[in-house]
C-alpha cells in the first residue's frame, strides 16, 4: 500500500539516494516523503510540549520562582539535546546488548544518515532519532515539577544529565530499543512506562530526598498565575498529538487512531476530574480542568495506537478521579511535597494507562497490536504489570542513587535564605515580573 502512495517527492529523493550510493542500490529502501514530513512535524510538536510544560508548571509556583522553573525546562531542552547526540541515542537505540542497553554503534550520531530506518519504517534514520530526542527532553523536564522551588541549579544540571543517561536511556531501550520488556511483549505506544511512570516515580523520590519546601507546613502555597498554567496545558494538549500520533512512525491509519483517542481520553479526563471535585468541594475549578486534561493525555499515551475511542472515554473517566484522589488525599496522607504533582499525575496516571492498555487493547482496532484482558487475553495485563513494576523499581532506585551520589559533593538544596528570597533572584539574578520594585516601571497603569 505504502509504495503505491509514494509521492513524487519521495520517489525523487529515493532516486537521488540510489544515484549517490550505487553500491547499496539493491538494498536501499525508498524514503516515504509523507511519513518523513509527518514525523518531522510531529517532532517539532513534541518539542513545543516542553515550553508548554514550562508554562503549565510556571503558573503553579510562586511568582518568586517562575524563572527557575522556566530555566530548568529550557536547560532540559538544551542539555538533553546535546547528550542525545553524543551518547543518549546510541544507549537507547543502538544494537542490543543483553536486552539491557544499546551498544555504541551510534556514538556521536555516527552511522546515522539519510537512509531509511528499516524497510517497514521508510523514514530517514535521522528523522527517527530526532523524533525520539524530543521524548527524552520532555521526560527529563517533567521531573522538575516535583522538586520545584528548592533545588540548586548546578545540582539540577548534573542531575538531569545523569538521569537521562542512567535512567531514561536504558528504559527507552528496554521498551522500544530491543530490550527485555519489548521482547516480553509490553505494549507502550508512546511512553506510559518510559516517559510518565519513570518521570513520576523519579519525581517522587527526588521530592522525598530533597524534603519539603520551607513554609509548606505553616502556609498555603498557591499557584501565582493560573492563566499561564492554562496556556501551558493547551500547548501540551496540542503537542501531544505529535507525541502520540507520531509514535505510529507513519502517516497512516494507526496515527489517525492515536490522534483521535488522544483527544477523546483528554476530554474525558478533564470532565471526570472536574466532576469529581465539583461533587467533593462544590466548585468546578479551572485548575481541575487542565489537570484532568493532562491526566487524560498521560493515561492514553501507552494505549494510543491500540484502543478504540470508546475505550479512551472509559480510560479518561477513570483517570480524572484517580489522579484527583492521588493529589488531594494520598499526597496529604503521606506528607511528601511533590510540589507540582508529577507523581500524582504522571506516575499515577501513567500506571493506570499502562495497565489499562492491557485491559482495553484490541487487535480488532489495530491488527498489529495485541489483545488485552477484555479481548480475552489476560496474559497481556500481566506483561503490562511487569513493565510497571520494573519501571517503578528501576527509576526509584537509580534516582535515589544519583541524588545520593551528587549529595556527596554538595547540598542538593539552596540555602534557607535563598529559598525565602526566591530562586529567580538568588540563583538567576533576575525578576520574573518587573513590578517587584516601586519605581512604577512595568506597571500596567501609570500616573
Amino acid at each position: 500500500m505504502r509504495s503505491l502512495k509514494l509521492s513524487l517527492g519521495a520517489v525523487t529523493l529515493a532516486i537521488t539516494l540510489l544515484a549517490s550510493r550505487p553500491a547499496l542500490a539493491a538494498e536501499e529502501v525508498s524514503i516515504s516523503a509523507g511519513d518523513t514530513g509527518f514525523i518531522l512535524i510531529c517532532a517539532a510538536l513534541v518539542l513545543l510540549m516542553t515550553p508548554g510544560l514550562a508554562m503549565f508548571y510556571g503558573g503553579m509556583v510562586r511568582s518568586k520562582n517562575i524563572l527557575s522553573i522556566l530555566m530548568q525546562c529550557l536547560a532540559a531542552m538544551a542539555l538533553v539535546s546535546i547528550q542525545w547526540i553524543l551518547l543518549g541515542y546510541t544507549l537507547s537505540f543502538g544494537p542490543d546488548h543483553g536486552t539491557l542497553i544499546g551498544g555504541l554503534d551510534f556514538l556521536g550520531f555516527g552511522n546515522i544518515g539519510l537512509e531509511a530506518l528499516s524497510d517497514t519504517v521508510p523514514i530517514p534514520h535521522l528523522a527517527f532519532a530526532g523524533f525520539q530526542l524530543m521524548f527524552a527532553i520532555i521526560t527529563a523536564a517533567l521531573i522538575t515539577g516535583a522538586f520545584a522551588e528548592r533545588m540548586k541549579f548546578s545540582v539540577f544540571v548534573v542531575f538531569i544529565l545523569l538521569w537521562t543517561t542512567l535512567i531514561y536511556d536504558p528504559l527507552a531501550h528496554w521498551v522500544w530499543g530491543g530490550g527485555w520488556l519489548g521482547q516480553l511483549g509490553i505494549m507502550d505506544f508512546a511512553g506510559g512506562t518510559v516517559v510518565h511512570i519513570s518521570s513520576g516515580v523519579s519525581g517522587l523520590v527526588a521530592a522525598l530526598v530533597l524534603g519539603k519546601r520551607l513554609g509548606k507546613e505553616r502556609e498555603a502555597i498557591r499557584p501565582h498565575n493560573m492563566p499561564l498554567t492554562v496556556l501551558g496545558a493547551g500547548l501540551l494538549w496540542f503537542g501531544w498529538f505529535g507525541f502520540n500520533a507520531g509514535s505510529a512512525l507513519s502517516a497512516n491509519g494507526v496515527a489517525a487512531l492515536a490522534f483521535l483517542v488522544t483527544n477523546t481520553c483528554t476530554a474525558a479526563g478533564a470532565l471526570s476530574w472536574v466532576a469529581a471535585e465539583w461533587l467533593h468541594h462544590g466548585k468546578p475549578t479551572v485548575f481541575g480542568a487542565v489537570s484532568g486534561a493532562v491526566a487524560g493525555l498521560v493515561a492514553i499515551t501507552p494505549a494510543a495506537g491500540f484502543v478504540s475511542p470508546l475505550s479512551a472515554i472509559a480510560m479518561g473517566l477513570v483517570v480524572g478521579p484517580l489522579c484527583y484522589l492521588a493529589v488531594s488525599k494520598m499526597k496529604e496522607k503521606f506528607g511528601y511535597d511533590d510540589a507540582l504533582d508529577v507523581f500524582g499525575i504522571h506516575g499515577v496516571g501513567g500506571t493506570w494507562g499502562a495497565l489499562a492498555t492491557g485491559i482495553f487493547a484490541s487487535t480488532a482496532i489495530n491488527p498489529a497490536g495485541m489483545d488485552g484482558l477484555l479481548a480475552g487475553n489476560p496474559g497481556q495485563l500481566l506483561v503490562q504489570s511487569i513493565g510497571v513494576v520494573a519501571t517503578y523499581v528501576f527509576a526509584a532506585l537509580m534516582t535515589y542513587a544519583v541524588l545520593k551520589a551528587i549529595s556527596l559533593f554538595t547540598s542538593l538544596r539552596v540555602s534557607e535564605e535563598e529559598e525565602e528570597a526566591g530562586l529567580d533572584l538568588s540563583l538567576h539574578g533576575e525578576d520574573g515580573y518587573s513590578n517587584a520594585d516601586m519605581s512604577g516601571e512595568g506597571h500596567a497603569v501609570a500616573g
Binding site: 467533593h280 484527583y324 493529589v327 499526597k331
Partner: protein, 112 residues
C-alpha cells in the same frame, strides 16, 4: 484639617468618586489594600488542597478636608458605600497638622 480614611468595597470606588466629584471634592489618594474585619474566611481548593483565604481585597480612599467638611464627606461615603452586609468596610478620621503643596510651597488651606 482632617484626613478621612475609608476602607470600602472595590466595587464602590467609581460611584464614590462620582459623588465626591459632585461635591467638588477632587483630591484623593486611592490604594489597593488587603484586610479583614468580621468577614468569614473563604475556602479555596487547588487540586483538592484547601487554602483558607482570610484577607480580602479592599480599596482605601484618603481625602484631606477642612474640619467643617468632615461630616458631609463621611455622610457621602456612608450613603454610597453601605450595602448593610458584613464587609462594607470602615471609616477613620484623623487630625492633620500641616499640608504643603510641593510644587508651590503653599501651606494649610491654600494647599488643599
Amino acid at each position: 484639617m482632617k484626613k478621612i480614611e475609608a476602607i470600602i468595597r472595590p466595587s464602590k470606588l467609581e460611584e464614590l468618586k462620582a459623588v465626591l466629584n459632585k461635591m467638588e471634592v477632587r483630591g484623593m489618594t486611592v490604594y489597593n489594600v488587603m484586610g479583614r474585619g468580621l468577614q468569614q474566611n473563604v475556602k479555596q481548593y487547588y487540586r483538592g488542597q484547601e487554602v483558607s483565604v482570610d484577607l480580602f481585597p479592599k480599596v482605601k480612599v484618603e481625602v484631606i478636608c477642612r474640619d467643617h467638611w468632615q461630616e458631609r464627606i463621611v455622610d457621602a461615603i456612608m450613603e454610597t458605600c453601605r450595602t448593610g452586609a458584613i464587609g462594607d468596610g470602615k471609616i477613620f478620621v484623623y487630625p492633620v497638622e500641616e499640608i504643603i503643596r510641593i510644587s508651590s510651597g503653599e501651606r494649610g488651606d491654600a494647599a488643599l
